[in-house]
C-alpha cells in the first residue's frame, strides 16, 4: 500500500510537471495583462522541435534547447500581435493552436514519415544521491527526470521574480493599471513583451518535458489539451503562483488515478477518469474555489492616450 502511494505521488509529480511549468510561465504573462490561449500551441511546437532536435543531434539537451527556441519564437509572434497590433488575444491564440497542430503534424509526416513512433534520445532519470534510497520519499520524489528538478527550480525563480523584484512589480503594474504604470515611467509594451517571452520559455520547457523527458517520442497532437489545463490552473489558482502549482498537482493527481485505480482493483470507467481533470477545471473556473479576481487589464491592449 505504501509502495503504491509512493508510485502514485511520483506519477502525479510527473504528470503535473508540464502543467506546472506552462502554468507558471503563463501566470507571468497574465499578470502583465496578456492571455496566451496559444499556450497549447507553444507546448506542441516545443514538443515537436524538442523531439526533432534530440533525434537529429542525438543529444537530448540540445533537444531541450531547440524546444525552448521554437516556443520562444512562437511567443514572440504572439507578443507582437497582442501588444503591438492589439489583436484579439483569444482569437489569435486559437489561430496559433490550429497552426501548431497542422504544422507539427505536417512536418512530422514529412520528416519522420514511415519512422513513426521512433524512440528519440531522452533525458536520463536522476536518482538524487543519498535521497533516492529513502523509503517512500525516495520513490515518490527523488527518482525523476533531471528536468523535473530544473523545472522546480525555475518555478521557485518565477515566484521570487514576481514577488520580490522590481520587474515583478512592473509586470503586475502593467497588468492592473497600464495607464498609471505608463505615467510612472514603466515601459508597458516592453514589460508585456518580456512577460510573454517568459511564457514562451516556460512553455518550451513544458513541451520538451513531454516529448524528451517523459514519452521519448513525438506523436501527433501529443499535448492533447495540456495547455488548456494549464490555463485553467492559472484561473483555479487565482493568479497566485502557489495555488496555481497546487491546481496543477491536483490535475496531475486526477490523471494519475486512471493508472492507479485499476491497479488497486477499483473499477471506474477510463473515460470518467480521463474527464476528471477537465471537470475539476470547469468547477474551478466556475468559482467553486471562491470568487477570483483576474488582473484588471487582462486581455486588454494598451494604447497611450486612448
Amino acid at each position: 500500500m505504501e509502495e503504491m502511494l509512493a508510485v502514485f505521488i511520483a506519477s502525479t509529480l510527473r504528470l503535473a510537471m508540464p502543467l506546472m511549468l506552462a502554468a507558471s510561465g503563463e501566470l507571468v504573462s497574465e499578470r502583465a495583462g496578456v492571455l496566451n490561449l496559444s499556450l497549447e500551441g507553444m507546448m506542441l511546437t516545443a514538443a515537436f522541435f524538442g523531439a526533432l532536435g534530440s533525434w537529429a543531434s542525438g543529444n537530448p539537451y540540445l533537444g531541450v534547447a531547440c524546444a525552448i527556441l521554437a516556443s520562444v519564437m512562437v511567443s514572440a509572434v504572439q507578443a507582437w500581435l497582442s501588444v503591438n497590433l492589439r489583436a484579439n488575444q483569444l482569437v489569435v491564440g486559437i489561430g496559433f493552436n490550429i497552426l501548431a497542430l497542422g504544422a507539427t503534424t505536417l512536418l512530422y509526416r514529412i520528416i519522420f514519415g514511415g519512422l513513426s513512433r521512433e524512440e528519440i534520445p531522452g533525458l536520463p532519470k536522476l536518482a538524487v544521491p543519498g535521497l533516492s534510497d529513502l523509503p517512500f520519499a525516495g520513490t515518490a520524489f527523488f527518482q525523476q527526470s533531471v528536468i523535473v528538478y530544473v523545472g522546480l527550480a525555475l518555478i521557485v525563480l518565477i515566484w521570487a521574480m514576481l514577488n520580490h523584484t522590481s520587474f515583478g512589480l512592473a509586470v503586475r503594474a502593467v497588468g492592473d493599471e497600464p495607464r498609471s504604470a505608463d505615467k510612472a515611467g514603466i515601459p508597458v509594451a516592453a514589460t508585456r513583451w518580456q512577460a510573454v517571452l517568459i511564457t514562451g520559455f516556460m512553455a518550451g520547457f513544458a513541451g520538451a518535458f513531454i516529448s524528451i523527458a517523459d514519452i521519448h517520442t513525438f506523436t501527433e497532437n501529443m499535448t492533447n489539451g495540456a495547455g488548456y489545463l494549464a490555463l485553467a490552473a492559472v484561473i483555479f489558482g487565482g493568479w497566485n503562483i502557489g495555488r496555481t502549482v497546487a491546481a496543477c498537482l491536483l490535475f496531475g493527481a486526477a490523471t494519475a488515478l486512471q493508472f492507479q485505480l485499476p491497479a488497486m482493483g477499483i473499477n471506474v470507467p477510463t473515460a470518467f477518469l480521463l474527464m476528471l481533470p477537465y471537470l475539476l477545471a470547469l468547477l474551478a473556473v466556475a468559482g467553486v474555489v471562491g470568487r477570483l479576481e483576474p488582473p484588471t487589464s487582462l486581455t486588454l491592449p494598451f494604447q497611450r492616450g486612448k
Binding site: L90, I94, Y228, Y278, L279, A286
Partner: protein, 359 residues
C-alpha cells in the same frame, strides 16, 4: 470621375471584405510553397485537390455536406458573437448533438415513427443537447462570471470524452460485443432515421441538410438584422451595463445567445450523424467545430459570409483529404492554411481600422 463615385461606406465595406480574401489567397500560396518544399509534385497535388473537391457528383455532394455542418456552427458562432460572446465549444456541441441523435435514432419506438418524425425527432434531440451544452457556458458566465472561451473549450473536452465513454460501454451506446473484434462503435441507425437524399441520385451523397441549413441562414439573417432580439444582442455586446440599465434582461440574453450557438452545433452534429456517418465513434466530430469557428470569425458577422466561408472550407477539406490519399501530401496542410488565415485576419484588425479612417 467614376473612380470617385465610390462612396466612403462602399470603400470601407470593400476593405472589410478584402482582408479575409487576401488572407485566404496568401495562406493558399504558403500552402503551395509548403507542398513544393516537401518535395512533392505541385501540379499533381493540385490535380488531386481539384479531383477530391470538384471531381464528380460524389465529391461535390460530400463537399457541400461538409459545408452544411460548417455553416451551422458558423451561424451559431456569429449569433453569440453579436452579443460579444466567443463560442469556442463547437466541437463539443457537435459531439453531444451526435450522441443525442444516435441514442434517439437507435431507439426502436422513435425509428418506427411515421411521417418523417423518425428523422425529425433525433435532429431536434441533437439540437436540444447542443443548446443545453452551450447553455451551461451561458449560465456559468452569468452566475460566476466565467469567461465563455475557457468554459466552452473545457466543456468541449468533456463532450469528446463523453463520446468515447458512450462507444466504449455496452451499457451506453456501444454495439453488442459478439467477438473480441467488435469495434468500439455504436450500431448503425436504421434507414428511416437517415436524412433523405436531396437529388434522388445514389451517386451523390447530398442530403436535405442543405435545405435546413439555407432556411436557418435566412432566419438567422432576419433575426440579426430585423428583430428586437438581434438588436438586444448587439446592445448587450456593445455595452452590457448600458443595456441592463436600459432594462434589458442581460443575463437571460447571454444564456440564450450561448444556448442558440450550442443548438446550431448540436444540430450540425445530428445532421453529420444522420446524413453521412450513420454510427457514432470516437473522434466523430473530427475538427468541424474548430473549422466552423474559423468560418464564423472570417464572416465578420455576415450570414452570407458564413455560407461562402463554409463552402470554401468544405471544398478545402475534401480536396485536402484527396491530396493526402492521391498525392501523399498530408491533409494537415489544410490546418496550416486555416491557422494562418485566422492569425492574419485577427492581426490586421487595427490596420483595417486605420485604412478605414477610424470609426
Amino acid at each position: 470621375m467614376t473612380a470617385l463615385a465610390f462612396s466612403l461606406p462602399d470603400r470601407r465595406r470593400l476593405l472589410g471584405m478584402a482582408v479575409p480574401f487576401v488572407a485566404v489567397v496568401g495562406s493558399m500560396i504558403v500552402g503551395l510553397l509548403l507542398i513544393a518544399a516537401s518535395g512533392k509534385d505541385v501540379p499533381d497535388a493540385i490535380e488531386a485537390f481539384m479531383d477530391g473537391a470538384f471531381g464528380n457528383a460524389f465529391a461535390i455532394g460530400a463537399s457541400i455536406n461538409r459545408a452544411v455542418a460548417l455553416s451551422l456552427v458558423g451561424l451559431g458562432f456569429i449569433l453569440a458573437f453579436r452579443a460579444n460572446l466567443t463560442n469556442v465549444g463547437g466541437e463539443g456541441q457537435i459531439a453531444v448533438g451526435g450522441i443525442a441523435a444516435t441514442a434517439l435514432g437507435l431507439w426502436p419506438p422513435i425509428a418506427n415513427l411515421p411521417l418523417g418524425l423518425a428523422v425529425i425527432v433525433p435532429l431536434l434531440g441533437g439540437t436540444l443537447a447542443g443548446a443545453f451544452w452551450g447553455g451551461i457556458a451561458g449560465v456559468m458566465k452569468v452566475r460566476f462570471g466565467t469567461n465563455e472561451v475557457i468554459s466552452t473549450l473545457l466543456l468541449g473536452f468533456v463532450a469528446l470524452l463523453l463520446v468515447y465513454w458512450c462507444v466504449q460501454s455496452t451499457a451506453l451506446l456501444r454495439q453488442p460485443q459478439t467477438s473480441s473484434a467488435t469495434l468500439p462503435e455504436s450500431l448503425s441507425i436504421a434507414d428511416s432515421v437517415k436524412l433523405p437524399s436531396l437529388t434522388g441520385n445514389s451517386e451523390s451523397p447530398l442530403h436535405i441538410g442543405l435545405v435546413i441549413c439555407l432556411l436557418l441562414a435566412v432566419i438567422t439573417a432576419i433575426v440579426l438584422q430585423r428583430s428586437t432580439f438581434g438588436l438586444r444582442l448587439r446592445a448587450i455586446g456593445l455595452n452590457e451595463l448600458a443595456a441592463r440599465r436600459a432594462g434589458m434582461p442581460g443575463g437571460i440574453l447571454l444564456v440564450v445567445a450561448l444556448a442558440m450557438a450550442g443548438a446550431f452545433g448540436g444540430l450540425a452534429g445530428a445532421i453529420m450523424l444522420q446524413g453521412e456517418q450513420y454510427y457514432l465513434k470516437t473522434g466523430f466530430s473530427s475538427g468541424y467545430g474548430f473549422d466552423g469557428l474559423v468560418v464564423g470569425l472570417l464572416s465578420r458577422g455576415s450570414t452570407v459570409g458564413v455560407l461562402v466561408g463554409a463552402l470554401f472550407f468544405g471544398f478545402l477539406r475534401s480536396g485536402g483529404i484527396s491530396m493526402e490519399i492521391m498525392a501523399g501530401v498530408p491533409a494537415a496542410l489544410t490546418l496550416v492554411i486555416q491557422g494562418l488565415i485566422v492569425i492574419a485576419v485577427a492581426g490586421s484588425v487595427i490596420l483595417v481600422e486605420k485604412l478605414q479612417g477610424g470609426r
